[in-house]
């Protein structure tokens, strides 16, 4: 392992610490008597159900889709045509199964893309080993072509 990988891993560990939702309360898998129904419900709710949650005003930005976003949409539609998922299963996976941190933290089509990869593993169209090896292969190919 190169030291740049270690640096990246350590930066990653620091970063996930920053992503902890701000509950103003430490959460390290509490003992059963430290959680009540209200907390249980808050933790187990479908995270896309944001209607009525307190929030700050969000700045509206006019922006066109990027090429990778359009490609992601087309890929997900192809998965539907081939019967890999239906629209409701796609929404469940990309809006709820990803969890609150990723739901709020990733770009909209980023959630589509990671979910498309996830369902191929979940339904055994590819193994995770095949997927990570392929990503690694594409990454090094890309690094070589940009180095030239």
């Amino acid at each position: 392992m190169s030291s740049s990988t270690r640096d990246e891993v350590l930066r990653h560990l620091q970063r996930v610490g920053h992503l902890q939702p701000a509950l103003h309360k430490q959460t390290h898998a509490p003992a059963p008597d430290e959680i009540n129904h209200e907390l249980y419900r808050a933790y187990t709710r479908p995270v896309h159900d944001v209607g009525g949650e307190y929030d700050v005003p969000i700045e509206y930005e006019e922006k066109e889709e990027e090429v990778w976003e359009l490609n992601t949409f087309a890929t997900c539609e192809c998965l539907a045509w081939r019967g890999v998922w239906n629209a409701e299963e796609r929404r469940r996976r990309q809006n709820v199964d990803v969890g609150q941190t990723a739901y709020l933290g990733l770009p909209y089509y980023g959630r589509w893309l990671i979910t498309a990869a996830r369902i191929l593993v979940d339904k055994q169209y590819v193994t995770l080993t095949e997927l990570v090896n392929k990503i690694d292969e594409v990454k090094s190919r890309n690094e070589q072509s940009t180095a030239r």
Partner: protein, 122 residues
Amino acid sequence: MSKAQHDRTHHAKIASGIGDPQCFAGKAGPAKFKVGDQVKIRDLPDIFYSRTMAYTRGAVGTVVRLVYESPPAEDEAWDNTDNPVWFYSIVFKQRDLWPEYSEAYSNDSLETEFPETYLQSA
């Protein structure tokens, strides 16, 4: 571990040339509610998945329209289409949903859809 056996085209087979939700027409049985009925939104456990917004739970609204028959989202999200139900369009007074909603706009309403599974007589 072997791959789960699942007919990936079962939905296309019933919906081709007909459409969705049209392919579920007549599959939900008699509707439990009719236009004008007062209904209360059930506060069913919302673990794993639901399309019934938390802010409507326990609120009372009026049936405006029976919209279509379809599997509830909670089933369809796992690709199960075995139990279609009636979907209803329900209208609420905004003041009944948001306690802080201004009295000046007390005529404001909100209309949205629910599967029959989430409705009870009010």
